[in-house]
């Protein structure tokens, strides 16, 4: 029997993990300040910003993909910017895929973080201030450590959700081997070509991956056990 995965499959798996890893790191950097702001602000803008962040949960991925494609295209604002910067156009590139995935997975990172930040008592932050910690010092020495379970949930969900996306990838990335062809697209290709055995291997792999990740999350993350 041949190896379960062809070299094209392996390349898709590698690309998927690379994409998910890069996207998760960016999302933690971008999502944490957004979540902190959403958790603590009393501004009128909290509602609208929270809704925009949550949009990808309810919108079909094709809608997000479509608008991002337009925005990144030659006559879109992002497209103008990237062309002016000499980067060229982003659709059908790995970078374009990363940007699209960041938008698409944003709520899965921001919401657990926001919940974690909201559950930190105001008193803990006030205590830190009376112990001479500035606002940023308090954030790093008290808020982030107390939000650790939320950070873990956010990272896992952001990573897993990026691994699992299909629609946005197809709209923005297309299907270019080694550049934008991730596992979900590769499975689609296999099915189109009636290669059911190959599709089975990859699909089963995805199921096992998703199960193990979520099991680990629910088993080891002490969310809710904290007082």
């Amino acid at each position: 029997m041949e190896s379960a995965f062809s070299s094209a499959d392996l390349s898709a798996i590698w690309l998927t993990f690379k994409l998910a890893a890069v996207v998760t790191i960016i999302l933690l950097l971008v999502g944490t300040p957004i979540a902190w702001w959403l958790a603590r602000t009393r501004s009128w803008w909290k509602g609208p910003v929270g809704a925009v962040v949550a949009l990808p949960i309810v919108l079909p991925p094709t809608v997000i993909g479509f608008y991002l494609l337009v925005a990144m295209g030659p006559s879109g604002p992002l497209g103008h910017l990237t062309q002016a910067l000499g980067i060229g156009l982003l659709p059908f590139t790995f970078a374009g895929l990363v940007i699209a995935s960041v938008f698409y997975s944003l709520p899965f990172v921001v919401q657990p973080l926001q919940n974690a930040f909201e559950s930190i008592p105001e008193r803990a932050l006030e205590t830190a201030a009376t112990l001479r910690a500035s606002a940023s010092d308090t954030f790093f020495s008290v808020a982030l450590p107390l939000a650790k379970p939320g950070l873990l949930t956010a990272s896992v969900l952001g990573f897993a959700h990026t691994v699992g996306e299909f629609g946005v990838v197809l709209m923005i990335g297309g299907n270019i081997p080694d550049k934008t062809r991730v596992v979900s697209v590769q499975i689609y290709d296999h099915v189109e070509a009636m290669e059911y055995t190959a599709a089975h291997w990859l699909s089963a792999g995805m199921v096992v991956f998703a199960f193990v990740v979520l099991l680990a999350l629910y088993t080891f993350n002490p969310t809710g056990k904290r007082k």
Partner: protein, 356 residues
């Protein structure tokens, strides 16, 4: 001096406080719940931001119309009602949290010293504050605040969340701090017994306003203030340990108004103690009582009388010229004895509590 003036209003509550107190010893902010004590303390800490507040501590402006020193720049310690230890840090790291943020040349206390003061030797090695009792947590919180070498210590009802046993456990530490530390303390409380034990100055608050402030006994002895009419109203007397009566297991306390016998206390002769005499434990005789089981009888002069409900009156007495005591008797007794201000009487003290 500490001068604080804050105006603040929320729906249903307004604070209009103007306060000048001495910047040494313990100043108690006392009043019923909702009177604005905690809000005033939070304003002093900078935790509540008011538009036109004023705060001067020993001549330094921490806040006025143009300037607002943020909380983390104010050299103060704050002990909250509940200990608020950081759950993600070990006990030692909790203690070090503020200490680490103070430049070494501004540290006036060492960790070991404070650990010793608050009896934390056995707790300082704990990995987490989770297993500590309420009293232990509060002691760690007090130590943590002291380690920032504060120039003003603010305490917001630090005992009120504790059970009676924990209160009993922590009180001696608070009294020691009072004796050994040269840091002015502002202590919020709604328990008169705590105030009587700890405070040197008393600030009374009611509905967001300061209604009186001054030396502890001066305020406690004023018949026009609500403190004189609380169930556990009473006066505080600073006295010195004079002698022991080994046979009957008693100790004599001397003050300029006379002597008081109390159950024997194991303290050095000559040391100063604080005794509390509740108004309800003081009865009045117009002639020197004979054949009484009450051994503490002081010559006193009635300085004031005020009705206190339909059946009772409160008396303000001066003992030895300057000490003030309160007495609570029935209105009938007042009339039968013909008590009027200025009269020389005998105050029979049924019970004296040594409180510090």
């Amino acid at each position: 001096m500490i001068h604080a003036r804050f105006n603040l209003s929320y729906p249903g509550f307004a604070l209009h406080a103007d306060l000048q107190v001495l910047a040494h010893g313990v100043t108690a902010l006392f009043g019923p719940s909702g009177s604005g004590k905690t809000t005033l303390l939070r304003c002093i800490a900078g935790l509540e931001r008011t538009a036109n507040g004023l705060l001067q501590v020993k001549g330094e402006v921490w806040q006025d119309g143009a300037n607002f020193l943020p909380v983390h720049r104010r050299p103060l310690g704050y002990v909250f009602q509940e200990a608020s230890l950081f759950p993600h840090l070990s006990v030692r790291r909790n203690l070090e949290y503020g200490l680490k943020r103070i430049p070494p040349d501004q540290r006036r206390v060492q960790l070991e010293q404070v650990v010793e003061w608050l009896g934390l030797n056995k707790l300082v090695g704990r990995d987490s504050p989770a297993g500590l009792s309420g009293g232990e947590r509060q002691r760690v919180a007090i130590a943590r605040a002291l380690l920032t070498s504060p120039r003003l210590l603010l305490m917001d009802e630090p005992l009120s969340a504790l059970d009676a046993a924990s209160k009993h456990e922590i009180m001696p530490y608070l009294e020691r701090l009072h004796g050994e530390l040269d840091i002015p303390v502002i202590y919020v409380s709604h328990a008169l017994d705590e105030v009587a034990r700890l405070a040197d100055q008393l600030v009374l608050m009611e509905e967001g306003r300061v209604i009186a402030s001054g030396a502890l006994n001066e305020i406690l002895g004023r018949l026009d203030l609500p403190t004189a009419h609380l169930d556990d109203a009473g006066a505080v007397i600073e006295a010195s340990m004079a002698a022991h009566d080994e046979k009957y297991h008693l100790t004599r306390l001397d003050f300029s108004g006379g002597s008081l016998w109390v159950s024997k206390v194991e303290r050095a002769i000559g040391s100063m103690v604080r005794a509390r005499v509740l108004a309800r434990d003081v009865s009045i005789a117009t002639v020197a009582p004979q054949g009484s089981s009450i051994s503490n009888i002081l010559e006193a002069r009635i300085a004031g009388i005020q009705d206190e409900g339909p059946d009772r009156v409160a008396l303000r007495l001066t003992v030895g010229g300057k000490h003030i005591m309160l007495s609570r008797i029935t209105r009938r007794s007042r009339d039968q004895l013909g008590l009027v201000p200025g009269m020389e009487v005998f105050a029979q003290v049924k019970s004296v509590a040594l409180i510090a």
